[in-house]
């Protein structure tokens, strides 16, 4: 198989990640923060190691400001439902994933005023319009790196606008984390991440990270339950990170996420970006050479999330993806990529695109095979 769907979930995982997950299951096993036995403390140590790794990865000074959830969808829901109430205003963009759009739609039904600020046909947020639309917004939520086009938003500029209007800025770093720098020094108040994409962990991990000066009391908890702390109280704890973590943690998953981040740190983000640009760049250029093709991506030279979304004139994207899988065992994704609004924005609604997303282990040879396959389809 040639796996070109790393924007959905990265594969393969580094051996060290597989080993960390299995080692936890085989040799640690116990429930973090439940009980004082050696294994439970060791398990809690892994979770704390992972908090420290995540905090430092995003430039957060306090590991207790890292909250783990099942994935970024759950993290974003926690922030949106926890902060917004009827009468509040929230601003977002037309390039969002359903992980943002659906909770916002649900909140709109409950009386929250939701504004989607426009983006251009390459997916860039129109900063002037954003600045006008933000007035009165309690929260801004923005997709950092597009899962459809790979367009990367200017976080610093958006942060400045948010700060000036007193709006909390939540950044969806699902696609960008592990590929391009995502850091509190660029100004967001909250970073939502998922563990199983660029961070190279396994599914079932993700979370929220809060800036050091952010008051987490502004956000109500989404779920309440056992935390292993203050057990005598009926009320769910209000302190971090327990405030947002009810129920048994995904210990094996967090062991894997820790190992994934260590792997990224050992390679260095710059190296990873260069490597991804090489394969994704070649793939995009190769497809652009095919008659009737359009690749939807930022202009060359701009920051890019390394996803290659394309259409072929007169071809159904489902049929292209089916051909690539059936005839060439190439794994990719077609359609809307859970982001139909983004496709409306870039002009690929309702057909969608075929998306090929190389990963950290994609080789030049994989790319040539994929290009040959797309060429054969088009002929």
């Amino acid at each position: 198989m040639i796996y070109l769907d790393n924007a959905s979930t990265s594969w393969p995982k580094p051996d060290s990640v597989v080993e960390a997950v299995t080692d936890y299951i085989r040799n640690i096993g116990a429930n973090p923060a439940r009980g004082n036995c050696t294994a439970a403390l060791e398990a809690l140590g892994v979770v704390l190691d992972c908090r420290e790794a995540v905090a430092s990865f995003f430039g957060c000074g306090n590991p207790l400001n890292v909250v783990f959830t099942h994935n970024v969808t759950w993290a974003i829901n926690t922030a949106l439902h926890g902060m917004l109430q009827s009468g509040d205003r929230v601003i977002s963009s037309t390039m969002e994933h359903n992980a943002v759009i659906r909770p916002l739609t649900n909140l709109a039904e409950k009386g929250v005023d939701v504004v989607y600020s426009p983006c251009d046909s390459q997916g860039y947020l129109d900063l002037e319009a954003f600045e006008k639309n933000i007035s009165g917004a309690k929260l801004a939520v923005l997709n950092h790196g597009s899962n459809v086009t790979g367009t990367v938003q200017d976080v610093r500029a958006v942060s400045d606008i948010c700060r000036a209007s007193g709006t909390v800025f939540l950044l969806d770093a699902a696609q960008s984390a592990g590929i391009i720098p995502v850091n509190f020094s660029h100004g967001p108040d909250i970073i939502a991440f998922t563990g199983h994409k660029g961070l190279l962990g396994v599914p079932g991990t993700g979370g929220l990270v809060f800036a050091d000066d952010f008051d987490t009391n502004q956000i109500r908890s989404l779920a309440q339950g056992g935390t292993g702390s203050v057990s005598e109280e009926m009320k769910h704890p209000d302190f971090m990170p327990d405030r947002f973590e009810a129920g048994t943690m995904n210990g094996p998953g967090l062991a894997g996420l820790l190992s994934g981040i260590e792997y990224l740190n050992s390679l260095g983000l710059e190296e990873i970006y260069k490597k991804k640009m090489k394969v994704a760049g070649r793939l995009a250029e190769g497809i652009e050479e095919i008659n009737g093709s359009i690749v939807y991506r930022p202009s060359p030279g701009k920051l890019w999330n390394a996803v290659v979304s394309f259409t072929l004139k007169g071809s159904d994207t489902a049929s292209i993806a089916d051909y690539l899988s059936r005839e060439h065992d190439i794994c990719c994704r077609h359609g809307f990529h859970c982001a139909s609004s983004a496709h409306r924005t870039i002009g690929t609604f309702p057909g969608g695109t075929v998306r090929l997303s190389p990963g950290i282990f994609t080789t030049a040879e994989d790319i040539e095979i994929a290009l040959r396959a797309v060429r054969m389809y088009s002929e």
Binding site: L41, E42, L44, V47, L64, P241
Partner: protein, 85 residues
């Protein structure tokens, strides 16, 4: 034998984070089960020798890890454990 001070936290995550911070800061301490008479919580707390307790407190305070309660403990301290790395 010197007295020990028990540093009691809200959660085990805080205990472990404080223990790590203290050890990094060169303060020796041990994690011990919280005696039920000090707290009904089922976790552990940090035991520090009385003469090191003020250094401990200043080191952990820097990390925002101020204990919920600070209790003197005169009895023999149970064998503690360290899990920091």
């Amino acid at each position: 034998m010197s007295n020990h001070i028990y540093m009691i936290y809200k959660s085990m995550t805080h205990v472990l984070a404080a223990e790590r911070a203290a050890r990094k800061g060169g303060v020796s301490c041990r994690m011990v089960p919280i005696p039920r008479n000090l707290s009904t919580d089922c976790g552990m707390c940090i035991s520090v020798k009385e003469e090191e307790s003020s250094v401990f407190l200043s080191v952990v305070e820097e990390k925002g890890l101020v204990p919920e309660k600070v209790e003197e403990h005169k009895d023999a301290v149970p064998a503690g454990r360290c899990y920091s790395n």
